[in-house]
C-alpha cells in the first residue's frame, strides 16, 4: 500500500501488477476510504467493545439474509 507521484509512476513501478489495476486510485479515493467510521472509532475509549458489537451486528445481519 503505497503512494506514487502519478499514475504513470505507479504503472512504471517494478512491482506493478496489472491484475490489481482497480486498486490504482487517486489519493482522494483512499483519503475518503480511510475516513470511514472504523478508522475514526480507533480513538474511542471503548474501541474493543465497539468493534465486538460491530462484529456481532454483522453476524446478525448475515444470519438474517
Amino acid at each position: 500500500m503505497n503512494f506514487f507521484r502519478s499514475e504513470e509512476h505507479a504503472r512504471n513501478w517494478s512491482q506493478w501488477n496489472p491484475e490489481a489495476e482497480q486498486q490504482l486510485q487517486p489519493l482522494e479515493h483512499y483519503a475518503e476510504r480511510f475516513a470511514g467510521e472504523m478508522f475514526r472509532a480507533r480513538v474511542r475509549p471503548d474501541f474493543m467493545s465497539w468493534l465486538d458489537e460491530q462484529r456481532r451486528q454483522r453476524e446478525r445481519e448475515q444470519e438474517g439474509k
Partner: protein, 155 residues
C-alpha cells in the same frame, strides 16, 4: 481471555502511548499502567494484537511492530504533527488515518515515490486535505488491501 472492558483499557493505553511517543509500549509497561502482573500484561497485549485488528508483533517475540495507523518500526511514511516529526505510519493508506488520532492538529506525511524516489508531501487536518505535492498523487497496492489472508501478518 480478558473481558472487553480490560481489552478496552489495554487498547486505549497502547494507542495513547503511540500518540505520545511514536512507538508502542513493552508489555511490562502496559501491565504496570493497568496494575497487572507482567505475565498478564503480556497475555493481554497478545490478545489485543490478535483480536483481528491489523496489528502485529515481531515473529517469535512480544514486541509490537505495528498498531494501526502507527508503526513502531520505521517505514517510508514519516508523520509530523504540528511541525514535529515523531511517528511512522503502518503504510500509505494508514497514513491517511493518522489525523483522527490528532484532532485539530496538522498532520503531515513525507514519503518517497517508490518508482522515482522523489518526495510526496501531504498535509491534513481533521476533515480537510490541506495540500498535496505534487498534484496527481495516487495510491496503489498490488494485493488485497490488508494483504492476502494467507500472507497477512495478522488475522
Amino acid at each position: 481471555m480478558a473481558d472487553l472492558e480490560t481489552q478496552d483499557r489495554a487498547y486505549r493505553n497502547i494507542n495513547q502511548y503511540f500518540i505520545e511517543r511514536g512507538f508502542g509500549p513493552h508489555y511490562t509497561e502496559l501491565a504496570a499502567d493497568l496494575g497487572l502482573p507482567p505475565d498478564e500484561g503480556r497475555e493481554l497485549l497478545r490478545e489485543v494484537i490478535e483480536s483481528g485488528i491489523p496489528a502485529w508483533q515481531h515473529p517469535g517475540t512480544d514486541y509490537i511492530v505495528s498498531f494501526p495507523p502507527f508503526n513502531s518500526m520505521p517505514t517510508q511514511y514519516r508523520i509530523s504533527v504540528d511541525g514535529k516529526q515523531g511517528w511512522f505510519a503502518q503504510c500509505a493508506f494508514e497514513s491517511l488515518a493518522v489525523r483522527w488520532h490528532f484532532p485539530g492538529q496538522t498532520v503531515r506525511v513525507d514519503a518517497p515515490c517508490l518508482d522515482c524516489g522523489e518526495p510526496i508531501v501531504l498535509e491534513m487536518c481533521d476533515e480537510e486535505l490541506l495540500s498535496v505535492e505534487p498534484e496527481g498523487v495516487v495510491g496503489y497496492t498490488y494485493g488485497e488491501i490488508g494483504g492476502s489472508p494467507e500472507d497477512r501478518p495478522y488475522r
